[in-house]
Symmetry: C2
Subunit: 394 residues, 2 copies
Amino acid sequence: MSADQPVTVEVGLGDRAYDILIGSGLLSRAGTEISRRLPGTRAAVITDANVAAAHLDALKDGLEKSDIQPAVITLPPGEKTKSFAHLEEVVDGVLAARLERGDIVIAFGGGVIGDLAGFAAGIVRRGMNFVQIPTSLLAQVDSSVGGKTGINSARGKNLVGVFHQPKLVLADTEVLDTLPIREFRAGYAELAKYGLIDRPAFFAWLEENWARVFAGGPERAQAIAEACRAKADVVARDEFETGDRALLNLGHTFGHALEAATQYGGTRLVHGEGVAIGMALAHRFSSRLNLASPDDAARVEAHLRAVGLPWRMADIPGDLPDAEALLSFIAQDKKVSRGALTFILTRGIGQAFIAKDVPASEVLSFLKESHPGEQESRPGQQKSRPSQQKSRPR
Amino acid sequence: MSADQPVTVEVGLGDRAYDILIGSGLLSRAGTEISRRLPGTRAAVITDANVAAAHLDALKDGLEKSDIQPAVITLPPGEKTKSFAHLEEVVDGVLAARLERGDIVIAFGGGVIGDLAGFAAGIVRRGMNFVQIPTSLLAQVDSSVGGKTGINSARGKNLVGVFHQPKLVLADTEVLDTLPIREFRAGYAELAKYGLIDRPAFFAWLEENWARVFAGGPERAQAIAEACRAKADVVARDEFETGDRALLNLGHTFGHALEAATQYGGTRLVHGEGVAIGMALAHRFSSRLNLASPDDAARVEAHLRAVGLPWRMADIPGDLPDAEALLSFIAQDKKVSRGALTFILTRGIGQAFIAKDVPASEVLSFLKESHPGEQESRPGQQKSRPSQQKSRPR
């Protein structure tokens, strides 16, 4: 295992500040990096069966070097694991290992494990130390920054949880080589999102360098670090999601509706793919509302297509519900505040903003135009624009 | 219903500051007081079957005056309700009512309901608004101040939860008239605790005025307000229990051991009774260690006896496990940090302090002396004292 010097991204949250280390060979250094920051503590590792089979021995070796012999709790892989039943299982396991408040819960897996283990760490003894070792690209760029933890409810995804910041994140870029390519690509959609929100130069860099990010050169760590910095900036401005943090939902309102429309099956559409199509639609919708140039929408679509991501509804295999039904999924989304439709729209690449009170009729017409089964043309362009909230200068 | 001007206690926690209103007739003003602070919000009331039968109509009338028609979730009464299963039930109920982050969860009941509903409010959508309407004396003086919420685990009480501060607490003193006298007395033990921790004048006032507190005159609101102020002072100094807040555990280490020894049955010993005996033992133990005068221990014992509370182990009906077994309950207590025995001891009435590294042998000898089944006399007084941590001057 190589052990190049990792890139460090500092997440500045005052007395909850922490480091993200990004680089190859970090599993073998896990004990050293953890002990340096949290000396003399004991740990429980929460993981899933797939990650355990591929990487648990390497992590245990890395922890063993600093005399950390963790309790290990292994869960079934998959989104269904984010449930009350598994939360209780993890909580009981951590308590059974007699860990105290100053000891550590280590999340070792993708977003599901990170969200579930982080939630457990946030509630056992009203908050234990928490370390993230994300093993998917999505988790490295997204779930591991920001402190959101949680589980799903029968009423919707991520409706139950807490804000609980980790003390350290170790993103081992080598581990990503064992990911199925479809999963890597899905994570890449969230990575590219940060260019589209407010870093146009990063998006241009990705258009040039995406193949090296996929191949695993130093560009991979560079790209992950830039995405983490971008997210950390937004989170530091708005830790508890009362304002700007909503920008991170770029692509997610359309994306969640498409995920819901395909029953979150994960066969037809995984989360990052939904976000990819959602981002393309958000740009096209912004162009349709005369907010942004159609050239920018075309550029986003071209890049997603180039890396092999779906970018339009027609790319989803099988039939979709009609536009009315898709709109009803959007209206049920938790980002709907008091009945008004809130969208993240854009004025161009890297110029996303929060648009409140977007008229449902506009969304419906746009969905009809974009729907592979309902290709009606519309008589003319709408003049009314939604009220806008400028994203703050940085 | 009378509606005298309530006493207001401000809990100063920066941007999490809130008011406690204490007085009679507050249920009928609930809508007014809530709407003044959280206008235009919807609510869910979490309560138990006993409280609902006695007081739910009065609360609903009070809310109705401000057009609040709450969803109501009624749970079985009793400590067993603080479980994962009931937590999930409350979370689902709040989500089913389609409440959003800015809406309110109202805890309407004793400590069990407050802890459970507060935990649910802390995790639904990662934190909703929370209002406490405590209906027991214990909850009014203790559970409603400090932001601790949680449930029990098979591994112990209150091991799972979050810190989540309410936006408002309404302590209606009239509601307490429907409490069984034993429960009122048990709550009184926690109230008197604040005099013993650091308010000697309050303890002296209680020695004079306790009968009027029981009878329900203005002294009742006065006493509850003083206890809330005392707790709020400690919590404001140490919101997340890293130091001084441990003073609130006066009487609780011995008390929890006795509760555990009686299987938390609630028939032989309720929590406040355990605390009463625990406080008397903490004073007697401090005197035995030559830290405090035996006269102070005698004064505490006399007051507890006067109000009808148990004050020694012999007051618990039935047999107790032996001193060794009681010590093992103490050593399992979550307040044991890394194997060292931590106790709240005292230098006299109103002079409690945190004592770390109390030798287990001292505790064992004292338990043997105090145990009704093991009345051995000891050969002489021990000279060694535990290390001390001074409580901060105020």
